[in-house]
């Protein structure tokens, strides 16, 4: 093996391996056949692993649907109060100025159905529809969300005027949208060339404009003051040319 050349080495291994044979394991064909059979694919589908994955996916879908439904129902109940429910409360509401003299916030005591205690400590009774779970009451802009009597403390802000004027309790949240107005309103005018009239000198005076106006008067000793300096809101000043050469045609405003 000393100084074996590459070709000798290659020849050695080639002659040993070219026609070599090795006996595989006895169950090798069975494994190959199992992979070739279509039923093995079906078995694969119904393997424990796949069943587990399918079950997990199904569970996740159900949970997602349940929570989505729950959120939807909560939002729906928290929506604007229905008129019927409010009227029911109003009609059944026995709270009046006598039972609730201060008409202050009313809290419901737990465990006592249809009763409430106002901040003064007086117990008042009222009836509420049984099917009313979540109520949204809007009182002149103040929105209070109520839950069922058993679950949360009920907070109501009732005043004498609200009890007397039942329709005020019936508040439907409406969002008024003004008509779309153009950004720029163009007045129908004939051709004009604007010229400023004499500004009101009493307004918006400061030292700079006063000095500049004085200079203007001295520069142009004419009777009429033609150039005036007016401070504006941004801290600078505007130059007004009064009674300029421009023709001031009559504006016909429609």
């Amino acid at each position: 093996m000393h100084n074996m050349e590459d070709k000798d080495l290659d020849k050695l291994f080639r002659e040993a391996f070219v026609e070599a044979e090795e006996t595989p394991h006895a169950d090798t064909w069975a494994k190959i056949e199992a992979n070739l059979n279509p039923s093995s694919r079906i078995k694969t589908i119904y393997s424990f692993k796949n069943i587990g994955m399918i079950a997990a996916s199904f569970t996740l879908i159900c949970l997602g649907g349940y929570y989505a439904t729950k959120i939807y129902n909560t939002n729906d109940a928290n929506s604007t109060l229905k008129k019927e429910n409010v009227n029911t409360i109003v009609h059944n509401n026995e709270i009046d100025s006598q039972s609730n003299p201060d008409n202050s916030l009313i809290k419901e005591e737990k465990g006592k159905n249809n009763t409430a205690t106002n901040l003064s400590g007086n117990t008042v009774k009222f009836e509420k529809p049984e099917n009313l779970n979540i109520i949204t009451v809007a009182n002149k802009g103040q929105k209070i969300e109520l839950d069922s009597l058993k679950e949360k403390h009920l907070a109501l802000n009732l005043t004498q005027s609200m009890i007397a004027k039942k329709e005020e309790l019936v508040i439907i949240q409406v969002t008024e949208i003004d008509d779309i107005k153009p950004l720029i309103q163009f007045e129908d005018e004939e051709e004009t060339m604007l010229a400023n009239t004499a500004p009101d000198l009493k307004e918006n005076k400061n030292i700079v404009t006063t000095v500049l106006n004085k200079l203007s008067e001295n520069l142009d000793p004419s009777k009429e003051q033609t150039v005036r300096f007016i401070p504006d809101e941004e801290g600078s000043f505007a130059i007004s040319i009064i009674n300029s050469f421009a023709k001031n045609r009559n504006k016909k405003r429609k």
Partner: protein, 175 residues
């Protein structure tokens, strides 16, 4: 037995015909697999996957050349696929190979197949694959570079290192 008729039945998914073809070629194919694999278990995996491909992609054999030659190519390609999949784990260095345990002294005139197989299985997967492809299968360095997605220079250098290592081992155990 007419091999062509048998193969035709295999293409029709005749399980008995396929089993007969398997038994005819399994030993030669398994010898190929053991040359590329590090362990017997790995060789059996290559053999199974190779035959599954042979029977499912029978339409790729166009009848040109021998059926055995086509099957050998399928086996070699399956072995290379296995090598690529395991390439991440093949980080062993040629200098860190353990001492080979062989049953008898290796001599030029008495070199047994088993001994040489034991020696070549100790090579790192990359060197072993290139050595097998070039020396035993007869692939060129250009073909090897395309198969393994390496450069021709890389293929040549790895083959050179594999040869040097094999010479050293043969020399040691014949001293």
């Amino acid at each position: 037995m007419d091999l062509d008729r048998l193969w035709k039945e295999c293409t029709l998914n005749d399980r008995k015909a396929q089993e007969q073809v398997y038994h005819i070629f399994s030993k030669k194919m398994f010898a190929i697999c053991t040359r590329y694999a590090k362990t017997t278990l790995e060789a059996e995996d290559i053999l199974q996957n190779g035959f599954i491909k042979i029977f499912t992609k029978h339409h790729l054999y166009d009848g040109k050349g021998s059926l055995e030659g086509w099957m050998k190519k399928i086996m070699v390609n399956t072995a290379i696929e296995t090598y690529r999949k395991n390439q991440i784990n093949n980080t062993e260095s040629i200098d860190q190979l353990p001492t080979i345990q062989i049953e008898s002294p290796i001599k030029a005139d008495q070199t047994s197949y088993k001994d040489l197989l034991a020696i070549i299985q100790q090579l790192p997967a990359g060197y072993r694959t290139i050595f097998n492809l070039f020396v035993i299968e007869g692939y060129s360095h250009k073909e090897i570079s395309e198969l393994l997605q390496i450069s021709e220079g890389n293929s040549k250098s790895q083959l050179s290192r594999a040869r040097q290592w094999l010479k050293t081992k043969l020399k040691q155990y014949n001293a």
